[in-house]
């Protein structure tokens, strides 16, 4: 086992043991391998950097590098696609440890020789790793245990050099909960945070964005490729998407809205006209309506058949007839399941229920939800049509102090 710090600056010797250059950097190829292989070295000779393929090397240890040839190709070093330089791109940089769910800084890199190949096995993130580099060689006995992070758990490497696909493994990141991804992305610089979100699949990216502060959502989506931003917006819940679009410059928002699929576009567009701090601004358009002529049994059957169920199906909203929006009553899923299947919905539903006007202050509505212990509350317009619902998680965001909110898991979605 070898540490990068023990290799850097060490001599490169030819067959006769003559010193011909020094090691400036170690090149690895990041790819599907959990432990990326060393593909070569950047050697420095008389202020010139040249490439040394790993096939020219017979030995690599703390004394340096031993060549298997006397002929050196002194063409200057040029970075190739997919290559990462350990000293330049990894050492001292931050990375996301998927296992520990944290952002750490690389103090040293561990290299292990196995089956005639050198592979990067881990990142040393401990104090010992720092000491090894600070203190003169062999000055301190580093027998104490080191904390090495398995390279297989590296979800994202925050360096400015390589391309996004190379640095992050969206599969590994997606193992984390969106709340955690959001927290980690925010711990990085805004460039790197955006890259983390961009590397995720549309659905996870949308969920992650929903967990971020509004300004960050706007910034990330505004800087992103427009098509991609629209795809992610489609996956966000309509009320969140509407909030983001509302915060974007008008022109940009209209463009993004135009790029969205019809269905999601309509959902979001419907929410856009409402001010943030009103019931209309707080509501979402994802809810289930059922015509009142159905029986309880038919209603349950229909729920099961629905291709896409909204997150909030605890309350079902009973409307006047098929295709109508006139809200006649509300029935909780619990009552629906417990009721006699042949009973008409009209008899099972409650006709007395809490509702909100779209222009009502958001805070008042949120307080009402908390007071009556509701999970959701319908928003009704002047003609008695249901426009949307306000769910308890959105209400809580308004009621709870900010630092409290961050500690709570999301209840819906």
């Amino acid at each position: 086992m070898l540490y990068l710090s023990q290799v850097l600056g060490r001599p490169i010797r030819d067959l006769e043991g003559e010193r011909v250059a020094t090691v400036k950097d170690v090149i690895v190829r990041l790819g599907d391998d959990d432990h990326p292989p060393v593909t070569g070295f950047v050697a420095r000779y008389r202020r010139r950097d040249f490439f040394l393929s790993r096939w020219r090397i017979t030995n690599l240890n703390q004394q340096g590098v031993r060549l298997n040839t006397d002929i050196l190709d002194l063409r200057p070093f040029v970075r190739r696609e997919g290559e990462v330089l350990l000293a330049r791109d990894v050492l001292d940089k931050q990375l996301i440890d998927v296992d520990g769910k944290r952002v750490v800084r690389v103090n040293d890199v561990q290299i292990i020789e196995a089956a005639a190949e050198w592979r990067v096995t881990g990142a040393d993130v401990s104090l010992q790793g720092l000491w090894r580099r600070l203190a003169p060689h062999g000055f301190l006995g580093t027998k104490r245990p080191v904390e090495v992070l398995d390279w297989a758990d590296v979800g994202y490497l925050a360096t400015d050099a390589a391309t996004v696909q190379l640095k992050s493994s969206s599969g590994k990141l997606a193992r984390l909960h969106p709340v955690e991804i959001a927290r980690l992305a925010e711990a990085l610089s805004y460039h790197h945070g955006s890259e983390v979100v961009e590397a995720l699949d549309d659905e996870t990216a949308a969920e992650t964005l929903e967990e971020m502060p509004a300004e960050r959502q706007v910034q990330i989506l505004a800087d992103m490729d427009q098509e991609r931003a629209a795809d992610i917006l489609e996956w966000m819940s309509p009320d969140e998407a509407a909030d983001v679009l509302g915060d974007l410059p008008e022109e940009k928002a209209e463009e993004l809205l135009g790029l969205m699929e019809d269905e999601e576009q309509a959902d979001v567009a419907e929410l856009l006209p409402y001010e943030d701090d009103t019931a209309g601004g707080l509501m979402t358009t994802e809810f289930v309506t059922l015509p009142r002529e159905l029986t309880v049994g038919e209603a349950l059957a229909r729920l099961r058949e629905m291709a896409e169920t909204p997150n909030m199906i605890y309350y079902l909203y009973v409307v006047e007839s098929e295709g109508s929006w006139k809200l006649m009553g509300v029935i909780a899923l619990r009552s629906l399941i417990l009721a006699d299947p042949s009973m008409p919905l009209e008899e099972a539903m409650r006709t007395e229920f809490q509702k909100a006007d779209p222009d009502e202050p958001a805070r008042d509505v949120a307080q009402r939800i908390a007071e009556y212990n509701l999970l959701a509350l319908p928003v009704i317009d002047d003609s008695g049509d249901i426009l949307g619902i306000i769910t308890v998680d959105d209400a809580m965001e308004i009621l709870l102090p900010k630092d409290w909110r961050q500690r709570l898991p999301k209840l819906f979605g």
């Binding site: 050492l91 001292d92 940089k93 931050q94 944290r102 750490v104 800084r105 690389v106 103090n107 993130v125 104090l127 720092l130 580099r133 600070l134 400015d160 610089s189 805004y190 460039h191 790197h192 945070g193 502060p213 960050r216 910034q219 679009l245 509302g246 915060d247 974007l248 008008e250 928002a253 209209e254 809205l257 019809d262 269905e263 309509a266 959902d267 567009a269 419907e270 856009l272 006209p273 409402y274 001010e275 943030d276 358009t285 994802e286 809810f287 289930v288 309506t289 059922l290 229909r302 058949e305 629905m306 291709a307 896409e308 909204p310 098929e322 295709g323 929006w325 049509d385 426009l387 630092d403």
Partner: protein
């Protein structure tokens, strides 16, 4: 029969036809709020320089040299503005703190050096804050061996329990008392012609006392921690290149405002104390500069301001230092962590608070003198941080086309070189006092 989802869709269309096609316009209020939110880091940081050590330094300068050193304020405004602006720009362009950048660009050894310098400088400033607390409470008759340990425990507790932010505003409000120096400066009827002459006519001397004051002024206005501060708060606020125009205005307005306060402190102390030949050796002396305004309540006013400013900085400074050091070395950080999770972070924080308080309670400590010495330490360590900043801000790989312009760079380098020369000169004069007599 349409499924419910499809019905929802229809509703969306219907609403859109009703004329709700546009996107909500951003209210004027919201715009104003964003502006105020951005207007911040530069203003706050520049004025953080006017803490216990700052007040003591400027008051002493005014009392000892009268208007003679006022001219320094003009080059210092430019230098402070440039240095702060460079760091704010780095924060906006890279989204990273200064400690982060030093680690990523210069490696472990340089990081260790810069962090050590920062630790020493900030330990010095922390001592000065606790000395400020001691001086303030002594004005009210509370001995320092009671007030200082109590303050240290309270600050430590508040920060570790995460409730410091709530009391922070109280201290901030208290420190606004120092604005009364402006009124006091006018009421003390200074000789405005002499003020004007002092402001434009440079005087220089190789006397130890003169150099001491000079380095202390530089050290307290352009403190190393301020560069780290301003960059971190730009990053924390999520300010990017898009808002950079506003951030730049904020930095310069903040700088000019901070130096303006300094100007009035020097003028009012010069007009009251220097005129009567009084040198400042206790806080009560310094408070006297406020007597044209407050009369016999001058000490009360001064005490409140000094206490607020010192408590504020005594909490924020160790905290920020612990953040920077953990950040640069890659350790867990945050006040919500336990000692086992974040030993370095909480260790540095506790160490600074403890050392600051311990030194401040030493019996018969010449408080004002200690305050000045800590500012000199700041001035001496400043070059280390300044050169790091200069190298980073001119790194094209990092900053792209946002590196310094030629003229700007010249002014920035000049600042760094002059500050360094001054520090070296001061060290020379201190170590070999006989040199100037040659």
């Amino acid at each position: 029969m349409a499924e419910p989802r499809a019905a929802v869709r229809a509703a969306g269309r219907r609403l859109m036809r009703r004329g709700a096609r546009g996107v909500r316009s951003v209210g004027i209020w919201k715009r104003l709020l964003t502006y105020l939110a951005i207007l911040g880091p530069g203003m706050i940081t520049a004025n953080a320089g006017n803490d216990a050590g700052g007040i003591a330094t400027f008051a002493s300068v005014g009392a000892e040299f009268g208007y003679r050193l006022l001219w320094i304020l003009i080059p210092i405004t430019i230098s402070l503005g440039i240095v702060q602006e460079m760091c704010a720009r780095m924060g906006a362009v890279t989204g990273k703190g200064l400690a982060d950048l030093i680690r990523e660009r210069f490696g472990v050894r340089w990081t260790a050096l810069v962090m050590l310098a920062l630790l020493v400088a900030n330990a010095g400033v922390t001592v000065s804050e606790f000395v400020g607390i001691a001086a303030a409470t002594e004005l009210f008759g509370v001995p320092s061996f009671i007030s200082v340990p109590l303050a240290a425990v309270v600050i430590w507790w508040l920060v570790v329990k995460g409730s410091y932010q709530r009391v922070e505003r109280v201290f901030l409000l208290m420190s606004l008392v120092f604005l009364s120096y402006i009124v006091s400066a006018f009421l003390s009827k200074p000789d405005w012609t002499a003020v004007a002459v002092g402001l434009v006519k440079p005087t220089f001397s190789l006397e130890h006392a003169f150099l001491f004051s000079f380095v202390a002024i530089v050290g307290t206005t352009i403190s190393p921690y301020m560069q780290v501060f301003v960059q971190s708060s730009v990053v924390e606020k999520g300010l990017t290149l898009e808002d950079y125009g506003k951030t730049k205005i904020d930095v310069w307005v903040g700088t000019v405002f901070a130096i303006l306060i300094v100007f009035f402190i020097v003028v009012s102390t010069a007009a009251t104390l220097h005129r009567n030949g009084i040198q400042i050796s206790t806080a009560a002396d310094a408070a006297r500069a406020l007597s044209p305004l407050a009369g016999r309540y001058a000490e009360l006013l001064f005490g409140i301001g000094l206490f607020g400013a010192s408590m504020l900085a005594a909490g924020v400074l160790p905290l920020a230092t612990a953040y920077s050091i953990s950040e640069a070395l890659g350790f867990e950080k945050g006040v919500s962590r336990s000692f086992r999770e974040a030993p370095i972070f909480l260790g540095v924080f506790t160490f600074l608070v403890a050392v600051g308080a311990a030194i401040a309670v030493i019996p018969n400590l010449p408080l004002i003198r200690v305050l000045l010495v800590t500012q000199v330490i700041n001035g001496l360590l400043l070059p280390v941080v300044l050169f790091a900043v200069l190298r980073l801000v001119n790194d094209r790989e990092l900053m792209g086309n946002k590196v310094n312009g030629t003229l700007y760079n010249l002014a920035a380098w000049l600042t760094a070189v002059v500050v360094t020369a001054l520090s070296l000169l001061y060290l020379l004069v201190t170590l070999f006092p006989n040199l100037i007599h040659l």
